[in-house]
């Protein structure tokens, strides 16, 4: 099956599935395969489907697509044609009317333990870990991660694509940091951090700031060099 029938990208709002010109049914089959190959990655996310302008979108095709997405536990957010036309937009999920500055309810989990090499911890929502994360251990959360201790393993915040997620640690010495689709590794020459730090997605990749300066004014130049790049 030709691989160039569709492209899948991550975005702030979910996964973007770009259909190219060609047989749509084949493309849907391909999408189904991809969702099956990597269920953990896609499940729970929202999809934006983008079709070429000339594509014939019949009810059958759309119904088939909907089934494929449903099977992969992906919800449909939007359907668009190339360029601009928005064909479909999911209505906002029924949430109680909220005042403009009210944050949506998020889960916060407190975990009291030390993670040793080989341990894995994954939570839905935000994670506060009281304890160290030793090298070889992995933690992940759909939201933010705060480690009240020394973070030396791998941390992944915003695993479902939340690029606003942050990773914070009293001592941030992670071998690798991941936020949404971004990934960055520790510099080869490791300096001991001078204090608590915050990692977030900045321009061009994951940036690190000291605790005191985080979120204040202009993003600061990295005081510590980190190699960063987008996962592809």
């Amino acid at each position: 099956m030709p691989d160039n029938l569709l492209r899948i990208k991550g975005s702030k709002h979910g996964i973007v599935v770009q259909f190219e010109e060609g047989d749509l049914e084949q493309a849907i089959g391909l999408l189904e395969e991809k969702l099956k190959e990597n269920p953990g990655f896609f499940a729970g996310s929202q999809a934006i489907l983008v079709f070429p302008e000339e594509a014939q979108l019949s009810m059958d095709i759309l119904a088939g697509l909907y089934k494929v997405l449903e099977a992969g536990r992906v919800s449909l957010r939007e359907i668009r044609r190339n360029g601009s036309v928005r064909i479909y937009e999911a209505s906002e999920p029924e949430t109680p009317k909220k005042t403009p500055d009210e944050e949506p309810q998020r889960q916060l989990q407190w975990v009291y333990r030390r993670l040793r090499s080989g341990d894995k911890l994954s939570v839905d929502g935000d994670l506060v870990l009281i304890g160290d994360v030793n090298p070889g251990a992995e933690i992940s959360a759909t939201g933010n991660i705060l480690v009240w201790g020394c973070l030396q393993g791998v941390a992944h915040a915003g695993i479902h694509g939340d690029e606003n997620a942050r990773i914070m640690a009293l001592k941030l010495k992670a071998t690798q940091l991941r936020i949404a689709g971004f990934i960055s590794r520790a510099p080869d020459q490791t300096l001991d951090p001078i204090g608590p730090e915050v990692a977030r997605v900045g321009s061009g990749g994951i940036v690190i700031e000291t605790w005191e300066r985080a979120g204040k004014g202009e993003p600061l130049p990295f005081w510590r060099r980190l190699l960063h790049g987008r996962e592809d």
């Binding site: 040793r116 090499s117 070889g136």
Partner: protein, 267 residues
């Protein structure tokens, strides 16, 4: 009598589990305890060689577990030290020849008659490891001052703790083959680095010394030949197994004292 079973483990191979088992065993026996050294490395037995008892093996652990002989009959008595016995591993079988339940039962039986059972654990974290830890009350994690060894030790501590077999307060570490010249030049991790990561108590610190190789090849654990600093380091570790408070500072004059002062473990 109900004795204690202590498993000597590490995760990583080649860090000195077998040598440690042999020396701690001899040191405990010299303290007047009755000690069985149990080689759980079935298929790759070494402990008999390190103890110089290879040529006296008639029965092994698999024979005992199969019910062919009573464990008392399979034990090899060490002639040099009163109260020291070896239950050798089988060389012609593999780790699947023994189940965790059988192992637990065997260790219970031995504990009923001896003060200490020291279990020499195979490298790795597979079946052989699980068999070796199942009956143990305490664990000694042998770690050398290398990043890879420390990493594996960390994994092993996590596994011991998680399996619920051995509570974290019963797990200690023995830092093996430390070289002060390299620590001073910051080319080697020091004990406090390892402690900071593993967060378990230190049972002993054994300096790197060529005499270990010589004694291993001769089948004579270093603790047997008297008064050198290496033998003292093992005897101190054994003393701590017995629950003695052996301050690192007082006992250690000379080289080991310098080592420990350097680590900040001694004044």
């Amino acid at each position: 009598m109900s004795g204690k079973a202590v498993v000597i483990t590490s995760g990583k191979g080649g860090v000195g589990k077998t040598t440690t088992t042999a020396n701690l065993g001899v040191a405990l026996a010299l303290e007047g305890k009755s000690v069985v050294l149990l080689d759980a490395d079935i298929g790759l037995r070494n402990l008999d060689v390190v103890l110089g008892l290879e040529n006296r093996i008639v029965y092994d652990i698999v024979n005992v577990i199969d019910g062919m002989v009573d464990f008392r009959k399979a034990l090899i008595k060490d002639k040099r030290v009163e109260g020291l016995y070896l239950l050798p591993a089988a060389q012609t079988r593999d780790k699947d020849a023994v189940s965790p339940e059988q192992m637990r039962k065997l260790i219970e039986d031995i504990k009923a008659e001896f003060d200490y059972v020291l279990i020499d654990c195979p490298a790795g974290i597979e079946q052989g490891f699980l068999n070796a830890i199942v009956g143990a009350d305490e664990a000694v994690v042998v770690v050398t001052p290398e990043v890879s060894s420390v990493r594996d030790a960390d994994r092993v501590v996590g596994l011991l703790d998680k399996k619920g077999e051995i509570p974290i307060e019963n797990i200690s570490m023995l830092v093996n083959r430390i070289r002060m010249d390299m620590v001073r030049k910051k080319e080697m991790l020091d004990v406090s680095d390892i402690e900071e990561l593993l967060r378990i108590k230190v049972l002993g610190v054994i300096p790197d010394d060529e005499s270990v190789i010589v004694s291993t090849n001769k089948g004579e654990p270093v603790v047997l030949n008297g008064k050198n600093h290496l033998a003292q380091a093992y005897r101190d570790a054994a003393g701590r197994i017995l629950g003695r408070e052996i301050p690192f500072e007082e006992k250690h004059q000379g080289f080991v004292g310098t080592v420990l002062r350097f680590f900040g473990l001694a004044e």
